[in-house]
Symmetry: C2
Subunit: 115 residues, 2 copies
Amino acid sequence: MSDMPAAISSDVIRGYNDTMILYILKQAPSYGYEISKKIRSISDEKYVIKETTLYSAFSRMEKNGYIESWEETAEGSGKKRTYYRISEEGRRYYKEKCAEWELTRDVVERFIEAV
Amino acid sequence: MSDMPAAISSDVIRGYNDTMILYILKQAPSYGYEISKKIRSISDEKYVIKETTLYSAFSRMEKNGYIESWEETAEGSGKKRTYYRISEEGRRYYKEKCAEWELTRDVVERFIEAV
DNA sequence: TTGACATACCACGACAGCCGTGGTACGATA
DNA sequence: TATCGTACCACGGCTGTCGTGGTATGTCAA
């Protein structure tokens, strides 16, 4: 266990899952499965968001007005998907979280000794 | 509210309070009140750890074997204090958290747009 | 002498977000 | 026939933070 390679800290990620999702939705509307794969690829497979985390983030953010959803049936597959798009509120929230991140990162780093 | 200056993210800090405390104890044994003030000054007043967070971190870390405690009565003031020192387990844990931090930070930053 | 403030600590319980378990449903491929 | 990938979600447990409130000592000013 102590010689396991360091993994992503779910405590740090906590609260930044929303930010990651919004980063992706800022570029284009998308749906759960695709967002999950994008987070995985952007992070070079280093972070794989849990399904339940993802979907609970959607409902929380929709409730908060950061995203909006609608249903669509994919042409090829005939699968029903729930698409999400970012709102203006969501863009503002994303920017706030970026500023918060930079501040927090700079504080935490004062307590970290590089390896 | 949206024009409030960005504050530290307690979600990021979550789990890194322990790391901050260990960073201080790595230099010298100390006690709650002093550690709290050190965290405050090292962070340039940007982060003030809550008392309850601090003391629950102590009991968690002692249970996990990262720190050891003993009681002492201060010479001048006659106040009873609980001192803490870091253990070898604690030093190892601190190093792990540092590695974890760097990995996590690098992943999160891919989803952050600098202001 | 009264009250405020700094020091020094802690119990209790609420809360939020992550996550494990398990479920539904469809199509493709072997 | 079975497995895998796609696509989604309900439920409840867990953990760390934090608000509220309490104990106790010493100092300093009004």
